[in-house]
Each structure stands twice: as structure tokens, then as C-alpha cells.
Amino acid sequence: MSVSGSAVPRRVFVFRTLSFIPATAAGLAACTHLDAFAGQAGSYTPSFFTDSEWRFVNAFVDRLIPHDEVGPGAVEAGVPIFIDQQMGTKYGYGGLWYMHGPFAENPPPTLGYQLNLTPRQLYKAGIAAADHAITQAHGKSFAALDDATKDEVLKAMEAGTLDIGKSPPSNTLFGFFWQNTQEGYFSDPAYGGNKDAAAWAMIGFPGARGDYLEWVDQYGKKYPYAPTTIESAENAG
């Protein structure tokens, strides 16, 4: 392969060849469901979460990774869509985990996840219990709180001090949100998040580029090309 010069346009370099993908084709799959997704849930209809859960999810991940001058926020990146779609996969149904009992009551945290809850069950039960506890404490549901109060709630959940019961505890719910949010933010855009690979561009990760033979010993030099996604690499043939 040959890549030279600094004039390679953004978003079009793909593995083993240089070719131009029409902008309309490049973003087509993403646009169909992300088009109206501006700052909130937009027109995407969640297939797993209910309307009130969807507001909770959007508000929650918006505080985990807010929009700012550094880069995209989780909502504009499509993280809620990612999480909703993951709930329909084997992962969502707990199908990747050993889920046979007995389930230990108070195992040491170092021995890992021991709840009898799949991600689908955990989100449903956890969001309901958390929003109930938050409404009791603050008089309104999580999505209706101001940002500073939301962040206080997140900190309490992260520490496990917000009491929402044990199925799941609040720090476990927080942990699932944070793990899935990072996954949606940084995974290939094919999974519904990381819209336009903007989170990759933010940190400088070239994605599915696949070949750095000519870059491995260019020490201290900024890698100049925009991220390649699985879809853009496939379209380039």
C-alpha cells in the first residue's frame, strides 16, 4: 500500500486504496435513524426502553459525557440508541454470562458480578428504583433535575450511597451505565453510537485503518488521517 502526502481528504482513506465515497453514501445507514437525533431522543423510537426510561437514559448519559468544546456528548453521539439496541442482543439477555444459581448474597466485590439480573432486567429494575428514590428526595424525576443536582445524584450512585435497594444497588446500575456509555461512545458507528466516528476523531484513534507499516517509526508525528469505520472500509472495497 502507499499513503503519502498530507492532502488525503478526511473520511475517505480506506484500507489498501484511496477512493472517494460520496458523502451521501458514507453516512446513509447512520442517517436513517440519527437524522433527527439532535440533543435529545429525537425521532428514534426505542425498542426496549419505555418513554420515561428513555428520558432517564438520555439524561443520565448526557451527564456522564456532556457536550462541550472538547468533543461530542454521549447523546449527540447516539449512546442512548446504542444501549437500546444492545438490549436486543445476546448481551442484553445475559447470554454471554454464566447465569446459573445459587447467587451469593454478599460476595466480595473482587469476585465480580453475582446478581441474578440480565442487563435488560437490571436496567428496567434499576431505573425504576432509582427514579423512585430520586423523586422521593428531590420532588421530581431525574430527567427534570438541573445539571448540578443530576451530577450530585450520579456521584451518590457511583458511591452506592443512593439507596435503591439491592436488585441492583445504585453503584451497580451506575457501573452498567458508565460501561455501556463508553462502549457506545467509542465503538464502531455501526452499533448506533460514535456518530460520524467523532469520538474517535476527538482522541485521535484512526479506527479500522489496519495498516501503519509506514507510520510505526515516524516518531512524534501526528497521524493526519480521519478515522476509518468498518462500513467505510467495506464500501471502498
Binding site: 454470562w97 454464566y98 469476585l111 507510520w215
Partner: protein
């Protein structure tokens, strides 16, 4: 339905490195061989095909090539009086399932062993005195020497297309002396020149040299150019794509059983491979001293009896101990009495990491990388330094392994960075391409209280008891890890970073099964010279059942500083040679008990 299969000369359980090597060697010897692999068929296409393989979510977070935990796992407890709970999700270690085993999704760090590590107990006793070894430390000699294994290390490097820089070949220093000065003598150089060093590895090299250490380019089974191995299998040059550990290599650059052995093995009329064949037990005759074959279950739930004259247990690390325990072969180990051997000496790897953070503009570009590629120092590995004043057994190679950092798995950020929110976003953005990270890949010694047994409660999808780990960190290893970390902090400082973060275990820390550490588990079917103290003899032949050979890292009496694969495969070739040259001529015990 019960099906009895046709008799074969050798039944091999598992299609990873050891099973595949044994199949190649035994078919070459004219034996009719069948490999039984519990998982599905896998190959570069489709499992590693570009660009779909460049998918961190699918391969790492959703375990594309790892063991299906919904069907089978292990249980873990920290102490002998605790109740174990299942390892429900992939975390600290990533066992494989399917053709090629963990050899398909390994990194490719391809090491030998230090001669003294094979005589660990006697070496320490002679040099440092018997009382230097803690009373609960059950380390042992292996019963095989480096000189005996050397030809097999050499051949394995040729099979793997390993790229490296030899230091001493036939007792002559070669090249410009940039190899590893601590390396034992070799009979041949590496078949391929060392890979290029990515930037962070180059920075590490310079900083180590400034601190009087001896850096070198470590041997990598990610090949540095086009290569054809002794079996005629071909590899292409590594492009530093950074998708090695956890992935199947799309470039045919990373050695795997699938790429480096199977294409040649398939040409043998004596060879048969059956995937989705989950071996449940090794069958014994009425004397209990001879294996008659194995019983396995296929994907439709049918039970098959596979008769054979020779049985090779070539499953992943600890699974051989499970197979022996459920088959009633050998005496199970009891930590209270110290009696028994099967399951004894479960060991792992004691990891510590040092991260140096630079201002934006450094551009270490950590997405460029190869799993086997590192710059390493062995000054604190093996017995390359005086352990007397240090006061611990063991050591560690220290390496800067720029292997391809992907964003979901975690981007290193300076101490005190926010864990989420805008502050987190700024920290990952500032740090991702401006960090140098290096690892202290420490030994884990063997202890009386760390072992494998059958779990009394939990079962797999076939109703077999799960294997139970009883394992926790011990002070000797934490002391080793912290001591070496202390020695390496000046190396990070001399890189002139804006900050340094040291991730090392504290005394009293428990084994945490959640964050990934390594998949380098070993022990449980240890080799040795005394049938009361080991499961297999020096040729990896069962002391109890002479037509059973047990191959893999399970035979290690204790952990190594290096990654295990190089020693695992050298031992497989060593064992195969004993079968071909001795056992087949006169079947029976190769070492009298």
C-alpha cells in the same frame, strides 16, 4: 444417542498450540490421529477478515473468540475456607473456545525460559539457602533442563516465524550485541529480524539505557516480513494494525495453530479434526491404569465414545486438571494435608504498570502496535540480580509493549483525573496519544493454599462440576512487584513526563477477577521427577496412566516471568519427541515410578 467411533492411534483433546503440535508430530510418525475441539471451527476467514475484525466491541467486550461463559466457566474463592462463586463474566483472564484455542487470539509474545527457572527450588536453595524460601511456597524443579529443551525452542521459533534479535548463538555474541545480554545460549538465531520499535517503545529503550539497564527488542511471533515455515505454511508482514490480543490476525502475520500448523496438517490422510466435540472424560480400563479413549458430546447432544491407544490432554492451562479430576486420574491435591497432586500449584502472573503522561503534542500514537512487539529489560527477571538483599523469590521482565490501545478497553489517564463528565473527556483526549505505558510482568510463585479442585455446587451445561480456583495474592509476589516498580520509576522519570502513575498491588490486596490482567494461568498438572509430587513425569506422561500425556502450561510447577506460550510449545515438542523416539517403540512408562 450413544455412538462408538472408529478406533484411532491417538486421541487429542483440544486444538490449541499443544494439540495441533502433537497432531502434527504424531501424524508424521504415521499414527492415525483425531483432534476433538469443544468449540466451533475458526479461521482467518471469516473470523479474522478485514475490516470486520477491527471491532473492539464485538471481539473484546462481547467476547467473540473467548470461551462461551454461558455454558462453562470456573468458580473462584480467595481462601481454602471460603465459598467459591462463579467467574460469570470474562474479566481477569480470557480463555478461548474453538479451533486454535487461545492460540488464535493471543498477542504473540514468544519467549524462551531462563535455565535456572527450570531448577527453581534447587537453584534458590543452593544460592540463597533453604530458609530463603517461605514455608508455604511449594515451588519445585521441572525435571527438564534448558539444554534439553533448546532444540525445541529453536524449532518452535521457526514454526512461528518469530522476529527477534539474538544475542548469543553457539556461544558467540552475534549482530551488534543489541540482543538480550541475559538470554541463554541458542543454537540458531531467530528466523526473522526484529520488528520495528513503535515510538513509546523507543522512548522506553532510551530511558532504560540512560538508567544503566539493558533494553532489547523482544521476540515477537508477529512476523516482520514474508515468511514460510518448515511446514510450508506462509505468513505475511505485520502492518502494526494493533488488533492482536483478542482477535484473529487478518494479515496472516501473527502465528497461530490455524495459520502455522493446520494447513500442513490437513494434508495428512492420517489426520481428522472434529469441532463441537466436547470431551467429558478420559475413559479407563478396569485396572484404572490404562486409558481406552475419551467420551465426548457433540453439538446435538449425542454422546460419542472415541477409542484410542494414546490420549493427549491438550486443553487450555487449567482445563487439563479438570479433565483428570472428573476422570478420576491421579490423586486430587488436598491443601490441608499437602497430599495429592492433581490441582496443586495453581499460578498466575503478578502485574504492575507504570504510566508516564506527557503534554499534548507528544504523539506516541498508541493505536500503532503489534501484540508481540516490545522493548524489554530483563535486568530484574530470572536470577539476573541478587535476590539476597531483595528478599523475595521471583522477578519480572519489564516491557513497553505498544500493542494497539483501543478506546473502550480504557485509556490511561493521570492520577486524580475525573472518572466521568467533561473532565474525563478532556483527560482521555489529552492522554490518548501522549502516554508511554510499561508493564512489570511478574512471576507468581506456587503456594500450598493456591490450587484447583472440583466445585461442590456449580455445574457446566453438561452437568459436570465446574473447576474451582482457590487463589489469592501472597506477600512474596507483591514484594517482588513493588520492589521492581520502585527500580523502574526512575526510568519513567528520565522520560521527562508531566506526571507518572504507578499501578502496583498493595500488601493485603485480594485477587480481583474483574479487570483484565493476563490469561497466563498455569499449574494444576505439574511435571516433576517424583510421582508423589507431580502429575506427569519429565516427558509429560501421566505417572498413573502411561498412555496419557498431559501438555500445556498446567505442567508448570510455578509461574514464569515471561509469557508461557514459548515454553508450552517447546515442552510439547519435547514430549512429542519422547513419544516418537521412545514410547511408540516400547509403550509403557518412560520413567519408572
Amino acid at each position: 444417542m450413544n455412538i462408538t467411533e472408529k478406533h484411532v492411534d491417538a486421541v487429542i483433546v483440544g486444538s490449541g498450540w499443544t494439540g495441533m503440535i502433537m497432531a502434527k508430530e504424531l501424524t508424521e510418525a504415521g499414527l492415525k490421529v483425531v483432534i476433538l475441539e469443544r468449540g466451533p471451527a475458526r479461521d482467518t476467514y471469516p473470523d479474522g477478515a478485514y475490516p470486520k475484525t477491527m471491532d473492539e466491541l464485538a471481539f473484546i467486550q462481547r467476547s467473540r473468540l473467548f470461551q462461551d461463559m454461558s455454558k462453562d466457566t470456573v468458580t473462584i474463592r480467595h481462601g481454602v475456607d471460603d465459598v467459591a462463586v462463579p467467574y460469570r463474566q470474562i474479566g481477569a483472564f480470557k480463555p478461548g473456545t474453538g479451533l486454535g484455542g487461545a492460540g488464535l487470539h493471543w498477542s504473540g509474545q514468544h519467549w524462551r525460559v531462563f535455565p535456572e527457572e527450570l531448577q527453581l527450588r534447587s537453584h534458590y536453595e543452593q544460592k540463597y539457602g533453604k530458609s530463603f524460601i517461605p514455608p508455604d511456597m511449594t515451588i519445585a524443579d521441572w525435571g527438564v533442563s534448558y539444554d534439553e529443551l533448546e532444540p525445541h525452542f529453536t524449532f518452535a521459533e521457526q514454526v512461528f516465524g518469530t522476529a527477534g534479535h539474538a544475542y548469543r548463538v553457539n556461544n558467540q555474541i552475534v549482530g551488534n550485541g543489541d540482543g538480550n545480554i541475559f538470554e541463554a545460549n541458542r543454537s540458531a538465531p531467530y528466523p526473522m529480524p526484529a520488528q520495528k520499535n513503535p515510538y513509546s517503545a523507543e522512548i522506553f529503550w532510551k530511558a532504560c539505557a540512560e538508567n544503566g539497564l539493558h533494553p532489547f527488542s523482544q521476540p515477537s511471533a508477529n512476523t516482520s516480513g514474508p515468511y514460510t515455515n518448515p511446514y510450508g505454511c506462509q505468513m505475511g508482514p505485520c502492518t502494526f494494525c494493533g488488533f492482536c490480543s483478542g482477535y484473529a490476525c487478518f494479515n496472516y502475520s501473527k502465528a497461530s495453530p490455524n495459520v502455522n500448523i493446520l494447513p500442513a496438517l490437513r494434508l495428512s490422510p492420517n489426520f481428522e479434526l472434529r469441532t463441537d466435540a466436547n470431551v467429558q472424560k478420559i475413559n479407563l480400563d478396569s485396572t484404572g491404569k490404562r486409558a481406552t479413549g475419551v467420551t465426548y458430546v457433540d453439538s446435538q447432544g449425542n454422546t460419542h465414545i472415541q477409542p484410542g491407544d494414546l490420549v493427549i490432554a491438550g486443553t487450555f492451562a487449567y482445563n487439563n486438571a479438570h479433565l483428570l479430576l472428573v476422570s478420576g486420574i491421579g490423586q486430587p491435591y488436598d491443601p490441608k494435608t499437602g497430599q495429592g497432586v492433581v490441582g496443586k500449584n495453581l499460578v498466575y502472573q503478578t502485574m504492575a504498570t507504570i504510566q508516564a503522561f506527557f503534554e499534548p503534542g507528544k504523539f506516541t500514537n498508541p493505536f500503532i502496535g503489534a501484540g508481540g512487539n516490545s522493548v524489554t529489560v530483563d535486568d530484574y527477571n530470572g536470577d539476573n540480580f541478587d535476590h539476597g538483599p531483595a528478599g523475595f523469590v521471583g522477578g519480572a521482565p519489564v516491557w513497553c509493549n505498544q500493542a494497539g490501545t483501543k478506546p473502550i478497553s480504557g485509556i490511561p489517564v493521570p492520577e486524580g483525573s475525573p472518572k466521568w463528565g467533561s473532565g474525563w473527556k478532556k483527560a482521555v483526549t489529552d492522554s490518548y496519544v501522549n502516554t508511554v505505558s510499561f508493564d512489570i510482568h511478574g512471576t507468581n510463585m506456587a503456594y500450598r493454599q493456591c490450587y484447583l479442585s472440583l466445585d461442590p455446587t456449580y455445574t457446566d451445561s453438561h452437568g459436570q462440576p465446574l473447576l474451582r480456583f482457590t487463589f489469592d495474592w501472597q506477600n512474596n509476589d507483591i514484594k517482588m512487584s513493588r520492589w521492581i516498580a520502585g527500580k523502574m520509576i526512575p526510568v519513567a522519570q528520565s522520560m521527562n513526563p508531566k506526571s507518572i502513575k504507578v499501578l502496583a498491588k498493595n500488601f493485603g490486596d485480594h485477587f480481583d477477577t474483574r479487570p483484565y490482567q493476563t490469561t497466563h494461568l498455569a499449574g494444576g498438572t505439574m511435571m516433576g521427577t517424583d510421582p508423589k509430587q507431580s502429575v506427569v513425569n519429565r516427558y509429560l506422561q501421566s505417572w498413573d496412566v502411561s498412555n496419557l500425556f498431559v501438555v500445556g502450561s498446567g505442567v508448570f510447577p510455578q509461574g514464569l516471568g515471561y509469557n508461557p506460550t514459548g515454553t508450552v510449545v517447546a515442552l510439547a515438542y519435547w514430549s512429542a519427541k519422547a513419544i516418537r523416539n521412545q514410547y511408540l517403540k516400547n509403550p509403557g512408562a518412560l520413567v519408572s515410578a
